[in-house]
């Protein structure tokens, strides 16, 4: 293809295409650049406006205040521990389920698949779920952050599709050698499935890291709030103040007292910093897993 000469029209189209894509990528990135600049800028100086791409009065104060705040640290500790626990357990449990579903000739497989698939079509809804959580006493405990998010049938289907693609002869020869079903799964299937396991781990991990809902409605204890919920509480408090006219430059002292008892740093600058801190882990992980999730994993699931 490269050997063919481009016509003038081709060149125009190509240039136009690159330009639009470049602008599109700028749109996707810019809000984070803007926040990055604000998070490294002195909060009071930022209120004069005019900061668009880089900090004007550089400071690390926002970050040092954020990382020294026990509430912020606790929220991140909850999020980190929750993400690790749920991702590990969920990938393990989902892969077991997917392996079971992928076994050919399993009696009743059609009914078992329907049992799971139906839950993706119909759900009890919010209130019955809330009542369930109360009845099993997981409201306002760490359990509500972990148990309800352990399974997602979509993930199981993605894994099952991948397992289906592994040549059956591999596990069969192991069975002939007398390997148990568990060791076939752990020694043959899992090591061959790293791409799909990494993809599902990413999906689950990001979902849990970003979940603000559980913390907002099923947890009232301050010390169990995950970071995403904590951020939401910071912004809703701020927007309430904007709405009632008490926000803005006139009442920074007022805001910082209600929010975090901070001096020298504006709550606004702290919110920008918090957004950067909460986004960074995701930014560090997904580009490296891109080749896995792009390569056919999703397409395979659609064919199912």
């Amino acid at each position: 293809m490269g050997t063919r000469r481009m016509s003038a029209a081709d060149k125009i189209y190509s240039t136009l295409n690159y330009t639009v894509l470049f602008l599109f990528c700028l749109t996707a990135l810019y809000p984070f650049i803007y926040f990055l600049a604000l998070s490294f800028n002195d909060g009071y100086d930022a209120m004069k406006g005019g900061i668009y791409f880089y900090p004007r009065v550089f400071t690390l104060e926002n970050y040092s205040k954020a990382f020294n705040n026990p509430q912020v640290l606790n929220a991140f500790w909850i999020s980190v521990s929750r993400t690790l626990i749920v991702t590990l357990c969920s990938v393990m449990l989902t892969s077991l389920l997917a392996y079971g579903l992928s076994r050919k000739g399993l009696p009743g497989r059609k009914y078992i698949v329907f049992f799971f698939f139906f839950t993706t079509l119909f759900s009890g809804g919010l209130i019955p779920t809330f009542i369930l959580y109360r009845q099993i006493h997981i409201i306002d405990t760490y359990w509500v952050l972990v148990l309800p998010v352990l399974y997602d049938f979509f993930n199981a289907i993605v894994m099952k599709t991948f397992f289906d693609g592994i040549p059956p002869s591999l596990s069969e020869s192991a069975r002939i050698d007398g390997a148990s079903e568990l060791s076939v799964f752990a020694r043959i299937i899992l090591p061959l499935s790293m791409p799909v396991l990494a993809t599902i781990a990413l999906f689950v991990g990001v979902g849990v890291w970003n979940d603000w809902f559980t913390g907002q409605f099923f947890i009232s204890k301050e010390n169990l709030q995950p970071a995403a919920t904590f951020l939401n509480k910071m912004i809703s408090e701020a927007s309430f103040q904007t709405m009632t006219g008490s926000g803005g430059g006139s009442s920074i002292q007022n805001m910082s007292q209600s929010q975090m008892e901070l001096r020298g740093v504006t709550p606004e600058a702290l919110r920008m910093t918090f957004v950067i801190i909460i986004t960074t882990p995701i930014l560090c992980v997904y580009p490296f897993l891109q080749r896995f999730f792009v390569k056919g994993v999703l397409v395979g699931s659609l064919k199912e």
Partner: protein, 317 residues
């Protein structure tokens, strides 16, 4: 498949119906692997489905789901006679309709544009950047929006003031609510949505294009005669999903974006259910609305799937 397997199995898979139980025994480990999932789904999915019964009951905690007195269709009548319910329904349909209209084609366009990029390194950089918004939480997206559009030295108003224009409280204006919802939804989802189309595009045999070029096909006829027809099954399946989710206007996004000033256009079924149920404690009423929504969604997906199966060979099951 089974025959082939059976040849090499130590313990051949029994095949006669009378041997069902020994087959079950043969697969006992597979069942055991699925057991935690079955228990989890019974508790976290099926028990709440049983719990929808409270939509027909005057639910009292101390009496439990079964013990609470029956109320029949009282709560369904209550919301069907409530004018605010219709405005909520209208908002829900407006938002998801607009999302379908503008948001659905967006990833397709992006995929076609990315597909035209010949240099694979640049293409990959574009793609990586385009996925970023998908991976951040709606809480973060709405925080970004609130700051950028803030009347209090937000980016847009900062520039407006420098140009001598008045500051505007964008997030508090009902007329701007839908444009902001649609554009932020596209911003967040376009890159991720394009993955599936890009994957389908890589399956197109390049010889098809070469042959078409020999026959003198131009850019547009290649697009309409080769590229788009190949994508039809993918588009079809995604459309089935979107159509059956028409009552989901996007809870996270709407809940986080709505302000008291925009409630008249921003209240959707999911936010209404949450407010009446958890915040006001009208459990039965809220469950009735939720059940109404789930039931219609279920009927929708079955119908859309059936119609799709009939008019084309695209279907979910």
């Amino acid at each position: 498949m089974i025959v082939k397997e059976a040849k090499v199995e130590v313990m051949p898979i029994p095949k006669k119906k009378s041997e069902t139980w020994s087959r079950v025994w043969y697969f006992r480990h597979a069942y055991l692997f699925m057991l935690p999932a079955v228990i989890w789904y019974l508790v976290f999915s099926y028990y709440p489905m049983y719990g929808v019964l409270i939509a027909f009951k005057d639910f009292k905690y101390n009496l439990g789901i079964m013990g609470s007195p029956w109320e029949g269709l009282r709560f369904f009548k209550q919301f069907l006679n409530d004018s605010s319910f219709y405005s909520v329904l209208k908002n829900t349909l407006s938002i998801s309709g607009l999302k379908l209209l503008f948001g659905f084609p967006a990833p397709l366009v992006l995929a076609l544009m990315l597909n035209a990029v010949m240099r694979s390194k640049i293409k990959r950089i574009f793609q990586t950047i385009s996925y970023l918004p998908h991976f951040v939480s709606w809480v973060v997206v709405v925080t970004l929006m609130q700051k950028i559009l803030s009347p209090n030295v937000g980016l847009v108003n900062d520039i407006r003031e420098k140009m001598g224009l008045d500051s505007i409280f964008f997030m508090g204006m009902p007329s701007l609510f839908y444009p902001l919802v649609i554009s932020s939804d596209i911003w967040k989802g376009i890159g991720w949505g394009s993955i599936i189309y890009l994957a389908a595009l890589t399956n197109i045999d390049p010889h098809l294009y070469e042959a078409a070029e020999m026959d003198g096909a131009g850019r547009w006829s290649k697009l309409f005669k080769i590229t788009l027809p190949t994508l039809v099954p993918t588009i079809g399946i995604l459309l089935i999903f979107s159509l059956s989710g028409i009552l989901n206007a996007g809870f996270d996004q709407i809940w986080l974006m709505q302000t008291p000033a925009t409630l008249s256009v921003s209240e959707i079924l999911d936010t209404y259910v949450l407010k009446t149920g958890i915040q006001q404690g009208q459990f039965a009423y809220s469950t009735a609305i939720g059940l109404f929504k789930s039931a219609i969604s279920l009927v929708l997906i079955i119908t859309v799937n059936k119609v799709a199966k009939k008019v084309s060979d695209v279907s979910l099951w």
